[in-house]
Amino acid sequence: MVASLIIVFREVFEAGLIVGIVLAVTRTVAQRNLWIGGGVLVGVLAACVVAAFAGALSNLFAGMGQEVFNAFILIIAVVMLTWHNVWMARHGKELAGELRAAGQAVVEGSKSLFALAVVVGVAVLREGSEVVLFLYGVIAGGDSGLGVAIGGFLGLLLGVMVCLLTYLGLVRIPTHALFATTTVLIALLAAGMAAQAAAFLERANWVTALDNVVWDSGWLLSDSSLLGKALHTLIGYTDQPTAMQLTVYLAILLITFVLMRLYGAPAQVTAPARR
């Protein structure tokens, strides 16, 4: 039971962090529960589909289907997160201000919600398919099914707790500081995911340039420990990053910064991103 609790918790932990952040980011936006809930639901369904076709997926791209698929959905999430940040730099003020209830703001707001719902869906999908396969194996195998199922359920519950704690922790930040905080959080999240995508493409041998490991900080903080895993999700911490991963990481931060500057500041006021 404990083993299955740990396995399931380890998988849902990352998704829990991401959903918590997204909930905090969108807390002033109308209809956000519908979108985020939809993202989670679609993510769970997609996870079941991916699990069912895990064998077929693996065989794509000369046996590298899983890696390529993971890289691809991570890249989608990176694009969505970056787009959200750039979009918020432009419209964040309107959304937070008195225009919030106005029809236009709601329409605009749902664009951004769509992007974040996709991010949530991707996070749930990635972690979810492993949980589905694990639980399916347990049920199919029939060995001590109930204990394992209870463990799995408790692991899932713990993941939901992580999500709640992340959310409650973030919403304690006063509104004027919340925006700047979440902008930075999302930029780091996106950069970390991009570096992860690069790692998947390296494993698939699609990317081999700059594949030297720049440092090994495993002795200090292993990225498979709980703290290491949390930092891995939040800021993309890896204990053995390759030069390519670092390059991609920094490039995403730079691109986000430049795009926020280019598109972010509407003509009339100071850039909301600087608040």
Partner: protein, 118 residues
């Protein structure tokens, strides 16, 4: 230059860069050491495999079990789901000499093996 023009330039540059990287990747993958490995009933066969140092390694793993497994190695930075009865190819970058443990994440305590790089 407008922003959209700038974007299309950046995009096409990125595509060219990506394609050349892929081409180089295909060329480099030739010199890898290939190792056969199979899995059944929470056991890897053979439980210990070896490979020369400083060359890329390709592990061909066949999951002969009735359940899906997840091949994982923290030190080799590999994590891969392998469906019941399926084959998988695992690319491992060139390693320094040492002992690298791997396991089935779904049975971490019992289903373990190691790659010894010499």
């Amino acid at each position: 230059m407008s922003i959209s023009q700038m974007f299309s330039k950046v995009t096409s540059l990125a595509v060219v860069a990506l394609l050349s990287v892929v081409a180089i990747g295909a060329a480099l993958a030739q010199n890898a050491t290939e190792i056969q490995l199979s899995y059944k009933d929470k056991k890897f066969d053979p439980a210990e495999i070896s490979a020369p140092a400083n060359t890329p390694i390709v592990i061909k793993l066949k999951n002969n079990d009735g359940k899906a497994m997840e091949f994982e190695s923290k030190t080799l930075k590999v994590e891969k789901i392998i469906a019941a009865g399926a084959d998988a190819t695992i690319n491992v970058r060139a390693q320094k000499p040492g002992r690298y443990e791997f396991f089935d994440e779904y049975n971490e305590k019992t289903a373990r093996g190691a790659l010894v790089v010499k």
